[in-house]
């Protein structure tokens, strides 16, 4: 029998006992709906988490460190590749080499130091870091009050809102509770004085240098809501100055004393540089290329690997719970079809008597199981989507009451829709396996004797 005929006959049979078949299909729908609901919750949470990370603006950055600097992020990197002593210095030449790796947009040294910043003659200790002009377009300045630096060497400063609160003498309970507009208002346009130590080589002997103390007045131009330096963990800065300015200051770095023992010239050696990549998708390839140059690398993608593993496990478990409902539904299909065989014994006998082969009968039952699965899959996906919308809505009502902005914790990607429908179809066909072969083996003489 041709496939089309099987489907047509199957559709007719499904219509014949419409109540029972709809209930079975409903069972599949509920199973698929719970699967879709569980998985899209998992995916939604995952997307929420990665959106948060993406907003940090560091998804396209790679931190490059010298192997000489044993403070590595990754034990594995220390064990492979050239020995620390043979690896190249992270100096201006290395910076150019890294800049030439395809996909790298810019390379800037990561300059940061802990220093004293005075505001209204009160000293505050904080980490100061350079900020390249290109990060102006980054998402991490979303919600910033004021504006970005006017030029790459302007005597201007952008501060993080928690530092702004500190300058104003406010007690900080948690970064989330600080209203950025509130703390920015009295500070924008005001002047702070930053103290720093300049490292100066002493001419003939490159291994020694002197340190000169300076003070520099800077104007507060912006207060950030987010944490642009969040990747640094405990070393993250709360005060930012333009990158060109900080480079020209030649500030004393924490590692300078350690590096002084080596064969260094008067050009600076950086503890680490940041390579910005044209897109997050290229990070992996660029990281590999930089590793080949003999440096250690770290990117946020490495950090998200463990997060992705967590979500993979979460999705797996949510999927298993969702599948349980589908398993119950597939038992429903088996039951319905076995009942249908008993009910249609005679009909199967007649079909065999007029020339239906075993495979014709089998195909007919398969088509019925598949049709129920397909229909159940489609209805279930719609149902799951609706359930998800309701949960999302409920969550946002709750979040609003608690004073949080609404979040999108729900996501039904196209692959999930296709996958759920396909999965329901395959599970139904598997459920139809036993009833179909039982129907195909039915003895026509026995079946026709039934009166």
């Amino acid at each position: 029998m041709k496939l089309y005929d099987s489907i047509e006959l199957a559709a007719r049979n499904l219509r014949e006992s419409v109540l029972r078949n709809s209930l079975t299909t409903l069972g599949i729908s509920v199973g698929v709906a719970s699967l879709v609901a569980m998985l899209s919750l998992g995916i939604g949470l995952q997307q929420l988490a990665s959106r948060r990370l993406q907003r940090s603006g560091l998804f396209d950055s790679i931190v490059v460190t010298s192997r000489r600097n044993l403070r590595s992020f990754d034990r594995e990197q220390e064990q492979n590749g050239p020995a620390p002593a043979e690896s190249p210095d992270l100096n201006e030449a290395a910076r150019l080499k890294i800049a030439n790796v395809s996909g790298v947009v810019e390379v800037y040294p990561d300059l940061r130091f802990i220093t004293e910043v005075r505001y209204e003659d009160k000293p505050h200790l904080t980490m100061v870091a350079g900020l390249p002009f290109s990060s102006k377009d980054g998402d991490s300045f979303e919600g910033m009050q004021g504006k970005f630096f006017s030029s790459s060497d302007a005597h201007e400063v952008i501060i993080q809102k928690s530092f702004a609160a500190e300058l104003l003498g406010k007690t900080i309970r948690g970064a989330d509770e600080i209203n950025v507009a509130e703390v920015a208002k009295p500070l924008l346009g005001k002047e702070v004085v930053m103290r720093y130590s300049e490292r100066e080589s002493s001419g003939q002997d490159s291994a020694s240098f002197s340190v000169i103390s300076h003070e520099m007045p800077l104007t507060i131009v912006g207060v950030t809501d987010l944490d642009p330096d969040s990747m640094r963990g405990s070393a993250r800065a709360r005060v930012f100055v333009p990158q060109t300015l900080i480079e020209s200051m030649r500030p004393m770095q924490a590692y300078d004393t350690r590096a002084s023992g080596g064969v260094s010239s008067d050009q600076p050696i950086y503890s680490n540089v940041v390579a910005r990549v044209s897109g997050a998708g290229k990070v992996d390839a660029v990281e590999q290329a930089i590793k080949k140059l003999g440096f250690n690398t770290f990117s946020i993608l490495d950090a998200t690997k463990s997060m992705r593993r967590f979500f993979a496990i979460l999705d797996l478990f949510l999927g298993i719970f969702g599948s349980l409902a589908l398993t119950v539904a597939s038992i429903g299909i088996i039951n319905t079809l076995v009942m249908a065989i008993l009910e249609r014994r005679r009909e199967i006998g007649i079909m065999k008597a007029v020339g239906a082969s075993d495979s014709d009968v089998r195909g007919l039952f398969f088509a019925e199981a598949g049709a129920m699965g397909l229909l159940g899959g489609v209805c279930g996906t719609i149902l799951g989507w609706i359930i998800g919308r309701v949960i999302n809505f409920g969550t946002n009502v709750y979040l609003k009451r608690q004073g949080f902005p609404p979040e999108h914790i729900w996501s039904v990607p196209a692959w999930l829709v296709a996958g759920a429908v396909g999965f329901a179809f395959v599970v139904s066909l598997l459920s139809g396996l036993y009833p179909a072969s039982r129907a195909a083996r039915l003895d026509p003489v026995q079946a026709l004797r039934y009166e």
Partner: protein, 224 residues
Amino acid sequence: MGSATIRAVDGITLQIAAGEFVALLGASGSGKSSLLNLLAGLDSPSSGSVIVEGQSLAGLSREQLAKYRRHTVGMVFQSFNLIPSMSVLENVELPLRFAEVERTRRAAMASSALERVGLSGRLHHRPIELSGGEQQRVAMARALINQPHILLADEPTGNLDSRTGTEVMELIRHLNESLKMTVVLVTHERDLAEKYANRLIFLADGKMVADQANTTTTIAGAKS
């Protein structure tokens, strides 16, 4: 359940020539329907063989047996065995589906088959809306749709009154005579067998007790 073997058909040796009209006679339980099922390829003998058109049915696969039932034999039953959920036309079309005949040709073939049995006006009725005689004629149309060489009829008039029974039997005779179709008729009515068949085979307890040519000439118009 007892495990005693019941021999429904036991030691029957029988040869039916093409174009013959054979009646299998016997009381109920004599094995005549079992013999018909063996000829139809619905059942297979535990020993011995059934050879149709030079081919042993025992040597055929299940798939080939289905093909044999589809193209070589047509069956008519006492209880008509139409599928109640299908219309008259769809019932007749059913064997064409299994024979994978093009959809476009099926309806035309089925309606012309129904025309031949005199049922052209009721194509879209359900079997239950038809009289017994009409239902049996639908079953005849279905049996003949794939142009089989052999018609196997199992008590075709058993559920019909005498007038409609005669109509159906006349139709069978017409097929036998005009199309040279081999007919094997199972019945317990001796009168009917003598009226239409040209060979009578008597069965009792699964064994053949008599095999004789029909010499009865008393019924008018029985023989042309």
